[in-house]
């Protein structure tokens, strides 16, 4: 993995007031790579992911997406430029964040319609095929409040895919779900991985990390401690903290 990385983060730092949440975070993601990020609560995993999507502004370091820099040494470009760069990423949240006042179909179609990204006809058929892809073709006219958690999360994934992102960011997509509902969401994510989507997945699902991820990165106290293939990281972790964490969760 050299400079064809689709995401390159260098020396990213982020503090909330006095609290230093990300300390010198650097990593690269190759196109089509599926990376699972694991680590204890409060270690900064969400903050790292949110910084990529520009939901947080970092205090230092650089983030390159494709050939463009979302932030260079802590300095951001204009708002328009930021929007253009972040539009290459879709994001899925732990609590779905569906729009409750819109039907499932309207949730999917709103952003591409407003952005005039495609023609109305294309948007309709894209929404239909994505709903089918996540197994919810019969739920288009339903409001989110009538869906189960697993169905909501699948809608959220389909909604993100409507904008044709090259990269998908997932922040604990199954943590708010009843255990019996995680499978249907992981299944959709597995399918995306098979289709060569570049994915960063912050997760507590070690089995998903093990089976689907190309690489697992372990974060603790605002730093990536170690990263490797699932076999390496789960089979022979190098660092004490990784071992201690895995002992607790496995």
């Amino acid at each position: 993995m050299t400079n064809n990385a689709i995401i390159e983060v260098t020396n990213m730092r982020k503090s909330f007031g006095k609290l230093e949440v990300l300390k010198d975070v650097s990593f690269r993601i190759a196109p089509s790579e599926v990376v699972a990020v694991i680590g204890p609560s409060g270690s900064g995993k969400s903050t790292m992911l949110r910084s990529l999507a520009h939901l947080e502004e970092v205090n230092g370091g650089s983030i390159r997406i494709g050939n463009e820099e979302l932030v260079h040494n802590g300095v951001y470009p204009s708002g328009g430029k930021i929007k253009e760069i972040t539009s290459r990423m879709g994001m899925v949240f732990q609590h779905f964040n569906l729009f409750p006042h819109l039907t499932v179909r309207a949730n999917l179609e709103l952003a591409p319609k407003l952005m005039k990204k495609y023609s109305a006809e294309e948007i309709r058929s894209k929404a239909s095929s994505l709903l089918e892809k996540v197994g919810l073709q019969d739920k288009g006219d339903v409001y989110p409040s009538n869906l189960s958690g697993g169905q909501k999360q699948r809608v959220a994934i389909a909604r993100a895919l409507m904008m044709s992102p090259e990269i998908m960011l997932f922040d604990e997509p199954t943590s708010a779900l009843d255990p019996e509902l995680t499978g249907e969401v992981l299944q959709v994510m597995r399918q995306l991985a098979d289709e060569q989507m570049t994915m960063i997945v912050v997760t507590h699902e070690m089995s998903f990390a093990r089976e689907v991820a190309d690489r697992v990165m372990f974060m603790a106290d605002g730093e990536f401690i170690e990263s490797g293939t699932p076999e390496q990281l789960f089979g022979s972790p190098q660092h004490e903290r990784t071992k201690a964490f895995l002992n607790r969760v496995l």
Binding site: L55, M89, F93, L98, F99, H101, M115, N146, M163
Partner: protein
């Protein structure tokens, strides 16, 4: 107590109710948008705007509506020098007081609605690429109005009853005609009839808002 008598006193009261209803519609149709403007000001990043709106809301909610109405009807005209230019028709002055007063309450109701919206809604909109305008108009405001609906309904019903304050500035409305009839005929019936008319108006409003709530239930 004959039906004829009831009919005789009801006529003028219904006539008076027209003033009541007119004040109601003028006040509600102006105070809701104005209240929303104050909500935006309170939320504004321009600190002086937020400050002005907060002081405004504090003053309007912290003093009696009756005082505000008397202020506009009888207070403004006695201000030295400029007072003579501030003389208004009493009904107009009362409308102004109602609008300005209720706007403060609606501003707080809408602000409460905004507070109830999860920040995840803004974030979802942002990662989908929606700008500030679309996020506000398509995501936040529809939800805000839905959340605010029961409180708005409550406020509208209070407004119907508050119109009786017109009595204090001698603008003839429903209550005025009831009181006149009671004094004239020494019977309590006009008050009962007035009560029934108020109830009829609030009933219509209650149904109207229930219908709105059903329509915007989102399930």
């Amino acid at each position: 107590m004959s039906l004829d008598y009831l009919w005789d006193i009801t006529g003028p009261m219904l006539e008076g109710a027209r003033t009541t209803i007119l004040l109601f519609f003028l006040a509600i149709l102006t105070s809701i948008p104005l209240g929303f403007v104050f909500t935006l000001m309170v939320k504004s990043r321009v600190k002086p705007l937020a400050w002005i709106a907060n002081v405004y809301i504090y003053v309007m909610r912290g003093t009696p509506l009756l005082l505000q109405m008397l202020f506009f009807c009888f207070g403004l005209p006695v201000i030295p020098v400029i007072g003579e230019y501030l003389v208004m028709d009493r009904f107009a002055a009362a409308c102004l007081a109602f609008t300005l007063n209720y706007a403060a309450y609606f501003a707080e109701i809408f602000r409460g609605g905004l507070l109830a919206i999860d920040k995840g809604q803004y974030e979802a909109a942002q990662v989908l690429g929606l700008g500030r305008w679309h996020t506000m108009t398509r995501i936040i405001l529809p939800q805000m109005f839905r959340i605010a609906l029961p409180a708005v309904s409550n406020e509208a019903i209070t407004l119907v009853k508050d119109t009786a304050l017109l009595y204090a500035v001698a603008v003839p409305e429903l209550l005025h005609f009831a009181q006149t009839a009671v004094n004239r005929d020494f019977t309590i019936m006009p008050f009962v009839v007035a009560g029934v008319i108020y109830l009829a108006m609030t009933l219509v409003l209650t149904f109207f808002f229930k219908m709105l709530e059903r329509k915007f239930k989102f399930d």
